[in-house]
Symmetry: C2
Subunit: 346 residues, 2 copies
């Protein structure tokens, strides 16, 4: 990750609660020590996966897609917290705002998040308003628990609040105002972002409008190339997303969409047209994978089922995202944002 | 591989014939260029897998184990060569001695092998004698084809002959004498090595007795820690084996058997006893994986199904084998072989 230019890593509290457990991570000295990462580290609250896996498809819902069927593991949500069943051993867990902060304290990341309810796409305004109010009460409890001890297993921590309110302008403003009033280090924009990219950019703009410039703003779960340019234009500072590494594990190498000629954000190396292609994965990239290997070799490794392919593609996709974020920073620094966005997106 | 101390790599002609094909590798500049390996490289003849996959279980037969059931893909062996069906697309291939050399010329390794028939464990002396005679005729044809052009797709190549003769002393001596008379760069010991480690060491001694000291001798398909010490004692110079990387992919880290306290050659990191173990994989190792990570982390990665675990264990196991072979060389250099063998094996 470091060689590929990554400056910060996110770890999933939900998955780490289920295994090996926050106590086990704390016994190993916290996440930094456990995985030998001495850079900044962020954990989410654990809520996203509870609701995502719980409803069966919230991850897709948040981006406006419905349909994917998964086993439902969410048992219930009440004032106290969310109760769910472990997908590993069926054990029942209840995650409360206090419990989430305590777990994240044991995990020991530098940046941690308040617990919120992730509302799915198909719920109505009434549900969204009630859910937002619940998330605000949970945020207040998260802040109180955080204030008890601002140190995790590996040192001092900073807390981010989360702006909710779904796709509704007045609710987003109300939630952003609530977040503003909290003594947090930063803000995150969460919850339903609508059913299309354009709606997402509108929702982010609604959430950003009341926020101050003094605190960093993170956009949860978004990481598409166009989405990054558009949301930075709305004021977002940081992103997290599984897609670069997931695309890699499915045989895809990220490329600049304008370069692809088809506004595509990646090429699929499984495609037969790469069988004899002696170009690097991405002619603009200097990462280990691009410096050493051809598309034809990656195509062969994928066809042969060699896990080396997944590793090399992951290295490239992380290096690509690092280069993209560097380009975004440079564009801001040189007041050249529109031209650079055009250069990347075509 | 280089960082882990590997000095030479073996590539499988059989698998490369099936995909992507030797012509495709040649178009990419040969194996060295294709996989960006600028060190020495060895290919086998392709025969081992034809007979192994063909009979269903020759790999196990050669080591004296019977039983594993696999689809049989060997269609027939005759004077001309071996005919088999691709496990990928059902296409029929015939591998002749000339075809094997031509394929290995296209692959472009530095060291290549003559085609032989790998006789399984359960065949009798008559079959072994007839098979040996066939392998000798195939070796003569391989040498003739090799002499036509000693250059592969990536430069000059050196040819190894193979000593056959199964577990029969007179046949092994006869085959070693045949190998001695061939103008090859080196010798390999192949075919059935008996049903137990002790029988293997006896068979290797039979094959070695007539051989000259001027040419390197390779033992095909063997790579256990004890097997290496015992066979080096019989005069073997080099080995190849999938076991270090296969053990890694099954969650195992190689350790010095004397250190394990139980004469085991590896520990299985899936075992619950490593859950809180903060030692490195191997306290004697300085490889990347051992320098950075604990057994507890590897245990967690394996339980979570993270392919990073397989990568880290592979790095360690390759580094371990490099350290083992270095210890063997140092023991010979310092005339300290018996003591070092004892130190490693207990």
């Amino acid at each position: 990750m470091k060689a590929a230019g990554a400056q910060i890593i996110l770890a999933n509290t939900y998955h780490l609660i289920i295994q090996p457990g926050p106590e086990a991570v704390a016994r190993l000295g916290g996440l930094h020590a456990m995985m030998a990462w001495d850079g900044p580290l962020l954990t989410d609250s654990g809520g996203f996966q509870i609701f995502s896996l719980g409803h069966g498809s919230v991850a897709e819902e948040i981006k406006g897609n419905r349909g994917a069927e998964r086993p439902r593991t969410l048992i219930g949500i009440d004032e106290q917290g969310a109760t769910f069943r472990s997908y590993l051993d069926g054990a029942i867990h209840t995650l409360t705002p206090e419990g989430s902060i305590q777990a994240q304290r044991q995990l020991g990341a530098d940046i941690i998040l308040v617990l919120d309810e992730c509302t799915p796409y198909h719920v109505d305004r009434d549900y969204t308003a009630r859910s937002m109010a619940l998330s605000h009460r949970w945020a207040t409890r998260s802040v109180a628990e955080f204030s008890r001890a601002r140190h995790g297993s590996a040192g001092p921590q900073a807390l981010y609040g989360i702006v909710q309110g779904g796709v509704y302008d007045d609710l987003r403003r109300q939630s952003a105002q609530f977040a503003l009033d909290q003594p947090t280090f930063g803000h995150a924009v969460g919850g339903c972002l609508g059913g299309s990219p354009d709606e997402m950019y509108d929702v982010v703009a609604m959430a950003m409008a009341p926020l101050d410039d003094d605190r960093p703003v993170h956009l949860l779960g978004i990481g598409g190339i166009q989405d990054i340019w558009e949301n930075v234009a709305k004021g977002i500072d940081t992103f997290d997303c599984v897609s670069p590494t997931r695309i890699a594990r499915h045989g895809g190498a990220l490329i600049r969409p304008a370069l692809s000629g088809r506004a595509r954000d990646h090429i699929n190396l499984r495609n037969a047209r790469f069988r004899d292609d002696q170009d690097p994965l991405d002619p603009e990239c200097g990462c280990y994978s691009c410096a050493k290997f051809t598309r034809a070799y990656l195509h062969h490794l994928l066809k042969a089922g060699e896990i080396l392919a997944l590793q090399l593609l992951t290295i490239h996709n992380i290096a690509f995202m690092s280069r993209l974020m560097n380009a975004v920073r440079e564009a801001i620094r040189h007041d050249d944002f529109a031209a650079q966005r055009q250069h990347w997106l075509g």
